[in-house]
Each structure stands twice: as C-alpha cells, then as structure tokens.
Amino acid sequence: MPEAKESTLVFDEELETKKPETKALVEDEFKEADFTVEHASAEVRDFAYSGFRRAAKIASEMDTEVDSETKTALEELNRQAELARQMLAGSFGGKLRLKSADYLKKYLPASRLTALAERKNTDTISKKAAARLEELLKNDNGDYEQTGQAADYFAKHKHLLDGEERKRLENRVLEAGKVREERKAELLSKKTVEELQALLEYEKGDYKEAEKAVNYFLQHKNLPDVANREASVFEAVEVHLGITAGDYYNDGSWQDALAEYKRMPGEFFKNKDISRIGNYIYSQAKRKELKPKEILAAFAGHLELVAAGSRYAGREYSFSSEDRVKIVSETYEKLGPSKYVAIYDAYDFDGREDRQKVLKPLFESYRAFNTNKILSEIDEMGSLLNALPPEEHAKVIKELTEKDALKVFNKFDLLNLNEEEVKFLAGQLRKSRQYTCFESEENLKKLNVSKEEIFDELLEKDAAYLFARRGIFKPTPEQYKLILDRVTNDIGKLREVLRILYADSYDESKQVLTEGEMAIFAPIVEKSAPGLVIRYKRVFENIYLEKLGWFFTGLQGLSTNELERFVNHVEEDLGGWEKNTERVRALVAESGEQKVTREYLEQLDGLDLKLPTRVKGKIKENIKKAERSSLLDYFRLALANNQTLEQAQREIQQKMEQVTANSDYFKAVHLDVLQHILKDRRFKTQFETHSSNGSLDPSFRARQEEKMFNYVGNKDKNKRVRPNYGYMSDNKNGIVGSFSKTSVYSTVGSYGHIHVKFKKQEIKDRTTVTFEDSLSNADQSPPTPSVKPHFTTLNLNRSTVRNMSHSSTPNDWGSSYLEVQYHWPLRTSLIESIHISEKNNLTVEQIREIQEMVIEYNMTNPNDKIKVVVY
C-alpha cells in the first residue's frame, strides 16, 4: 500500500512558492503527459489535488482505525478532492492534450470522464456554445426576452467559438438586441397610446382629461404612434374648452376655459388652427359685453385667441389700429407664420404703416409666407421686399410663377430689381405670353428686351400679327410677309387679319384694299380655300373669281352659309382645301351631270305606278330640288369614302332599294280603329274625322302634303283623297324595334298594337316611302316610290348609309321607322293579314275580340278574307 503522502490543502495560486513539492510532484507525475508548467492551469492543479482523493480512498480502505484528527483530515481530503474533481470536470481554461485523458481516467469516475472527453473536443464545445446561444436568441414570442442573456452568454463564451461562427453569432446577438429595443419601444408606444386614449375618453359629453392628455402627449410625442394622435388630442381640447366656456350648453365660464388654455403648454398650439377655440372663449367673453380694453386685459399674453376667435374682430369690435397690430403680432409669435397668414387676412388694417408693421415679421420669415401672398401685398411689400438681403430678395423674385409675372411687372417701380431679376421677370412674362408688357418702347427698355428679339418670338407665338394690327410694330415688308406666311395655313387667323385690317364695315364707296395690299394677299388667297373668297367675296370676287369660278359657278344656288360650311368641313376634317381641291373640282363637274338621277327618272317613267299624275310630277320635281339642295352632303359622303359622286349616290340608291324590296307593308292600328276600318271597309284619315269646331286643325299636314305630293293644300277640300300612313318592315309580323320571347318593343306602338299587313303586290305601286318621319322634312328628303326609292329620300345628316340593312331595325341607320304613304284609296280588300300578340300589349280578351271581328268581316267579304296571325 503506498504511503499517503502528506500534503497541504492549498487552493491558492501560489503553488510554486508555497508548495514547491506539489509542483514538483505535478511535474514528475505528468511529465509524460506532456504537460508543462505553462499548461499547469487550474485544471492541472485540480488534477493534482485529486491525488488527495487517492489518498483519501486509500485511507478509507485502511484497516487501521484512524484517530479523530486523521479522520477529520481524511474527511477534509475527501471534500477537497471532490471539489477538485468538480473543478476539473468544470470548464476548461485552456486546451488539454489528448494524452492527459489517460491520466484523467485513472482518477475520475467514468461519467466524469465522458463529460470531459466531450468537452475537450473543441468542435463539440464550440457547437454546444453556439447551440446554447441560438437557443437564447430564439424569438418565440416575438420579443426576444432572452436577448439579454444571450448577450451575456456570448460575452463569456465567445472564446469557445471559432472565427466565422463567432462573427455570425455576434451579429445575431446585435440584431437581436436591436430588435429587442424596437420591440420594447413598440410595446412602450402601445402602452403609451393606450394610456393616452384613456385620457381622451369622451365621458358624459366632455373630454375632462384634455389638459392631462396634452401634457402626456407632449411628453411622449417622440413615439410615432403617439405623434399620430395629435389631431385627436387637439380635437378633444377644442371640444373641452368649448364646453368649459359654455359654448355647447350655455352653462360655462369663459374665464375657466381661458385659464385652462393658459395652463396648457403653448407649444401644443403652435402652427395649429385655434379659430374654434378662440371663437368659443372669445365669443363668450364678448357676450358679457366687455369693452375692448377689458378684452385685451383679460386675454393678455394670449391675444392669439382674440385674433383667432373672431375673423372680423378687427372691424366689429372697434379695436384701435394699434390694438389690432398688437393682437396680430402676438398671434404671429404664438402660432407661427402659417396660421398667422390666415388671421392677417381677417384683419382690416387701416393704413400702409400698420400693414407694414404687421407684415414685417412675415417678411423676416418669408419662406413660410407663400409667394402669392407676397404678391398680393405687393404695394405694401415693395419696400419691405427691397429691405431683404439681396440673395433673399432674388429668391423671392425667382419663386415667381409665370402667372405672377404680370402682377410683379405692374409694380415694377416698387421693386428694385437687379439685372438678373429683370431678366428673369422678362422671361416669365414671355413664357406666360404677356406680350402687352412689351408694347411700348419704355417697357421694352425696362425689361431690357429688344424689338427684334421680341418680334421673332411674337412671330413664333403667332402673336406678331396682333401687334402689327395694333400698330405696336410697323412691320417691314419682309416682316409682313413673315406674318402672313405664318397665318396662311390657318384660315381662321388669316380671316382675323383681314377682319382687323379690312373691317367688317365694308364701304362700297371706298376701295378697301390698296393695290399693294392686294398684291400681298393675292398669292395667299390663291393657295387658300375659297372660304376666304366666300366671306370676303366683295373684296376678292372680281380678281379671284376666275381662279375659283368653277367652284362658285358649279355650286350656284347654294347659300353662302352652306358653301362656307362645306369648305370648313374640307379644311378642318378632310385634311385641308389644297389637298382636296382637285377632288372637289371633279365632284362639282360631276354634279352638273346628275347621272344617277337622270337614269332614275327614266326608269321611273317606265314603272307602272298607281299614283296620280300630279303626285308623280311633284315627286320628280322634289327629287331634282333635293339633290341640288343636298349636293354638298353628297360631296361630303363622296370625299369621305373616296368615291365619285356617282358612286356615292348609287351606293345610297342600291341600299335603299334593297331595304324596301325585302320589306312588307303594314299599318299599326288600335282596336277601336280596327272596328271602324272593318265596318267601313276602308281606312279613314283625320282629315275626314276632323270637326270644324275642334282643335285638331289639319292645316299643317295639308300644306306638307301639298309640298310632298301636290295634294290640295286646303284642308277642307278633297278630304278623302289623302294619303294614309303606315310603315314597312321585313319582320313577318310587322315588328319594328326589338322583341323577345315575352315582349315587343315597337317604335310604332303609339299608333297601335295591331299590325295590319297589306298585299304587297297589290299595294306596292301605290306607295311612297320616306326613311324618317315625312312631316319634318317634306321637301328636303322627299318621299319617293317605295318600289324605286331615290337617294334624296335619305337624309344624310341623320342617317348612316352603310348601317342600313333591315327595315325592322331602322335604329341602325338613325331612324324610328320606315314610313310609307299609302295613296288613296286604302281599302280593306288590300289587307292580307292582321298580326296580333299578347306580347304586344293585347289581352287575351282583345285577341279573341279581334278574331271574332275578322271572322264576321270574312263572312261578309268572302272574296277579301283576312287572316289573323297570333304570334
């Protein structure tokens, strides 16, 4: 049994000095372990102490009874050894070499060895430290509660981490710290807002804690969520002070309200609109009929309330001029420039001096005072503006918008503008086209602009001719030419020049244009549209008629207005006169031929129309007249479609013939009328039913029918020999409009819901047609035979030719229905069928009644039986 070596229980660090033997022991014992004294860290010392444990163990196995002192020593050894082992098993301050593990195994229990074995592996240590750190950096609940611990842990164990990992985790720790701070701020903010909201609770009609809310707000306004609540706080203050002052319930004290306002920090009201607060308190004070001086005394130090409280205080309360200046000036100090402006506006200052006093503080901080305001006060501010330092002065001028330029120019003499500022002003005037400012030599000199320079610009801006005509500039011949060249392309401007230079009041006795002037205009007018010639015919006709004779002669008979309208259309909508001259010329030439109409009339004569001779004659006459009067409409159509006149007219012709050829003849009647029709066996007109002492004077229609068909214009004559009116439709049931499975929308519904269909072959030759209501355009769009309608029947101003296809949908081309005029007589023998339907506003009973009516008719007229079609 080895002898237990005596040792001293020393745990201090002075191992070398106090226990050289132990040190020597350590050195000997661990020489092979490759430890050196340098490595003799605490672990080594601890390890050395484990020797005591050995000793203790040995001692415990000793048979001999030990004395109490030894026993105590042994117990102490055990304890120390245990401590030593714990220390050894704890954190390492340095690295242990692998070889030392063998030595450790001798003296430590297996479990400790395992722990140590793990710990001595630096990778593992590093990973464990990192893992622990990550765990602390978890943000499960979003507030990084363990961030502080993480930071501490990192500080203590960062040496265990390798370089890259350490950097990464360091950043994580920093980031977590930052987030933690933000979160804390957020939580703080949320809490603060909640507390602020509590103060802003509207309780029993008042915000009683408004004053507290203001102070609380100011204390925490650095927090964004709190700063956002400023408007709410202010509103609460407004209401509270109003209630306190008695404004709401007429039971308050303005003095209390004023006192409370004074207690609130002034910074809260800076740049705010306190007009309501002022109004609440001030108006209540006014009600007590306090004198102006009493008001000023009561509100001393807070005159901004007076200023804000009454927009018209300056006028209605008889404050002296001096007091008003004082009120407004104090307001500026308290509320700041932007609110000051509004209040300044409300005050009516007596004199320039007062205004200057009041405006001076604003000028000193003019940036808050917008430029518009400066300019509107230009009279007062002129000298004050000049009092600003040059760079400030220039800045104000430079802030001028274009629209302000004229205003400033008008006060030019008040402002000591330097050269640069003048140049800037001149530029702004030119940009805003304020050319009147350059109208005189004096102004040109003021603005330092030359005539030539401005003329070129005027020319560019098309204002040169205005200046010329005003006599501001007398253009040289070259300049005159430039002016006219510029306006040549614009017929409006050219006319303007003419109108101005050669006034509307043309005097026959005087020659308006001199020869020289005529020479200038000649080339222009040659190139220009005949519009000029039309308007200034008296001026130009003799000279230029030859050039445009083809136009005027070819279109003779058409009114000046129509010609001008056409020319404008060509100029504005079709690319200009010059571009279209040849085409128009061709159309004019063609119009004389009337080729399509000539053919038509020949064909018409060959038809077996059952129309009275005078009607046929009238129709032909109307066609010729209408073609002439609507000629320019056909021109427009031809130009738009790039067609000849013949092509355009034929297209219309063909379309119309196609529509009528595919359609049947109908008349819409009411049930009551059908009864009479079937009884009388013919259709009557209102001419026959008109009573001489009634209101339904048919004179108008009589005159229209005379125009259209040459029927007698006297309403009282030939009452039976009058057209009856119906319509055409290519719908088999005579519907015109739209229909669904359940209903019919008919454009002829006002005339009746019973559609009488006529025998086409028998009736077609006794009918004329118009493509819209005949009464409105009796002679301009005349009725022509339905079997051969003429293109003049279509009103091109209202109809779209290319959309025309079905007579049942006339809306496609711009009409309500295709109207038919049945020329006398219109008998029931011409009826083929009657078309009725519940969908078309007839009841079952009515349908039955009609059927019975027709049955009865058919019984008495077996040769002219009528079918009833229920659709």
């Binding site: 039913t689 209101s695 229609r701 009746g752």
Partner: protein, 86 residues
Amino acid sequence: MSEYNTPIAKLGKRVLIAKEADVPRIGKEQAIEVMVEQWDLETGQLEGEFRLEQLLKFNPWEDITDIGEIEEVKARLGRNPEIKKL
C-alpha cells in the same frame, strides 16, 4: 293632372291631352312641335307623350268638342287613383 290639361282628341277609349297654351299652335307653322299625352281611359294608363301631328297622321282621331265630354275626361283622369304613368 300635369300641365297637360286640355283634352282635344279621342279615338275609341283613347284620348289626347294637350297643354292649353299649345292648342292655338295646332295646325300652324309650329304644329310639329306640339306634344300631347295619350291616355287609355279604360285602363287609366298614360301611354306616353308624343308629337300630335304624327298621331293625327296615322290615325283618324276625332275632335273632342263637347264641353261635357271634356269635363268628363278631365274628371276621370283627375279622380282615378289607379292612374299611373307607364
């Protein structure tokens, strides 16, 4: 009743009501501008507002000249609570 207050024509159960101020214009140069209301007395329904001349052109309306008849029409249109516009 509306401003249309003067019955002027009838066609079976239908009547035409004009504005009093328009009556003198009927048949004259501005006749085309005269508008009337067409009522169905049986159903009490207003069938619409139309140009008088167009209605007269298409159907043989009869004048209402009898004062009693005029008053009866007015009374019916004024009294009837069922009357509603289409």
